[in-house]
């Protein structure tokens, strides 16, 4: 079920195929569909006067779509949540298999390494206090969305919902009941063994030896147990209604699932691998640039989630690839003679063409750049506000 490959650190060329915005939209839709009214009650719930924390789960998931690996303290700070509360939410999501977490003991130096990696992503959420943190081997927790698993979990969840309703509708798991038309005696399928007769192939009443009829048969249902039948019909209608409503309301999610199916899955790898990649790319870009949030996010250009391990040029490649896909996915499929191999199939030593690796070479022209600048979401603006607020 799990589509994650064995390769923990796909090269930038492979990760460039995925359309991170589509995946994030999937996460946001799933969050609103399934986790909107989740309340996470802690032990001290009554103490907190503002007890109602519904919707917090959605906020946390949304925040995670704008980040990759993030230290939980930092996330708590930027969401202005209590870290305990956040941890409870994250643990819930870990159990729901939406989020992967990592815990490690680290000194100030280790924390700095992560900070550098965060800076490289150009988040600008941090206020640059790295130096002040004097950590003496504290346990820090990190978390990250697990897109591969989210995809599977959401699909499985919807499958189960649908199956449950359909099973009820078909009364698949109900025990058949039998009625004797003569003496109105009722039997259930559990009595079947006693009811079989060896002379013919019907069940016979123990009392009057009449032939039994299955209750669902129209005739029997009309004669007896009318109220029961009415109740059943009402229930059936309710179920049908529910199924219809569900399909209606989950339609956006289904559509998004279908859209996302063709993209390869964003894979950030384990925390260590991610950090190593991120800091490497930061060095390549020049640290001064990376630490300036506004500049570096201009460099990222697209979407709310920057990709730290992609060099500047690589990001442009991803951008053009995405745009081509969005404009008309079909024509691109036709033009690409070779199928793009998903990253989990690509192994070292395979002789692949660029197309197979999913690298789309387009020249980036001027208006695409301006487009992307306009598209730059409000995230950045919010970021600046939050910095000012502090």
């Amino acid at each position: 079920m799990n589509r994650r490959g064995g390769d923990p650190s796909p090269s930038p060329a492979q990760t460039a195929v995925y359309n991170i915005d589509s995946w994030n939209r999937l996460v946001r839709l799933a969050a609103r569909a399934f986790y909107d009214d989740i309340t996470l009650k802690g032990d001290n719930a009554p103490k907190a006067g503002r007890g109602d924390n519904r919707g917090m789960a959605v906020v946390v998931l949304d925040a995670l779509t704008r980040r990759q690996w993030v230290r939980e303290e930092d996330l708590a700070k930027s969401l202005k949540l209590h870290s305990k509360q956040l941890r409870r939410t994250l643990r819930f999501f870990e159990e729901e298999k939406l989020v992967t977490r990592d815990h490690r003991k680290e000194s100030a130096k280790g924390a700095k390494m992560f900070s550098a990696a965060v800076a490289a992503t150009g988040e600008g959420q941090r206020t640059g206090k790295e130096g002040e943190e004097k950590v003496k081997l504290h346990t820090h927790s990190y978390c990250c969305l697990d897109y591969a698993q989210i995809y599977d979990v959401v699909r499985y969840r919807m499958h189960r919902m649908k199956k449950k309703l359909k099973d009820e509708l078909d009364s698949r798991n109900t025990i058949q009941e039998y009625i004797c038309p003569n003496c109105a005696r009722r039997y259930s399928a559990f009595d079947a063994l006693q009811l079989v007769s060896f002379t013919d192939e019907y069940f016979h009443c123990e009392n009057c030896n009449g032939e039994l009829v299955a209750e669902s048969d129209k005739l029997a249902a009309e004669e007896m147990g009318e109220g029961d039948d009415n109740a059943r019909r009402r229930r059936r209608e309710k179920l049908k209604d529910m199924l219809q409503k569900m399909e209606e309301q989950l339609k956006p999610l289904v559509v998004q699932l279908g859209r996302v199916k063709d993209f390869s899955i964003p894979e950030f790898g384990s925390l260590q691998a991610w950090e190593a990649r991120a800091s490497a790319s930061a060095r390549a870009n020049g640290d001064a640039n990376a630490n300036d949030p506004s500049k570096s996010s201009q460099g990222q250009g697209y979407g709310g989630t920057p990709m730290p391990f992609l060099g500047e040029t690589k990001v442009e490649v991803a951008l053009s690839g995405i745009e081509a896909k969005e404009e008309n996915a079909e024509s691109e499929n036709k033009s690409a003679g070779l199928k793009v191999l998903p990253p989990w199939m690509v192994k070292q030593g395979m002789n692949l063409t660029k197309e197979q690796r999913g690298v789309v070479k387009h020249e980036l022209n001027a208006d695409q750049v301006s487009q992307s600048d306009e598209k730059k979401p409000k995230v950045e603006v919010e970021d600046e506000k939050s910095v000012q607020a502090r």
Partner: protein, 177 residues
Amino acid sequence: MFFHITLERNMQLHPRYFGPHLRDKLVSKLMKDVEGTCSGRHGFVVAITGVEDIGKGLIREGTGFVTFPVKYQCVVFRPFKGEILEAVVTMVNKMGFFAEAGPVQIFVSNHLIPDDMEFQSGDVPNYTTSDGSVKIQKDSEVRLKIIGTRVDATEIFCIGTIKDDFLGVTNDPGVAP
């Protein structure tokens, strides 16, 4: 589902066995008494795998019989709701079919058989798909899901379904040797 559990039982032994082979006699009597029985709580006792402990015997006044508390390990089989089992069809009729999974009797009523299978009466009553590719008759092996169990003190009876994914006939008696 099968379980390996430890049970206890008070065994009564006739005084004529009091001798060098008392223990052997006790164990063989235990096997004879217990294996194949069914208790509602634990299910069917399939086999005794070992005797853990035989307590001190107590002579009953008047009869001379001695009661030994015996602790023994055994394999039990207890069907559960939702469990998937493979069973052999024993009887087919218009109302459905009966099957056996070891000691357990299972009834699959006709509305829990897929809609595309129809009952065919005749010499060998069976349920057949319209194209005739799948046939359920006596001695067919089917994979079914238990949707209900009735557990009495000494009997377990199950209701099954084959109206679900991956359920149905697993072999064809006409083809298999």
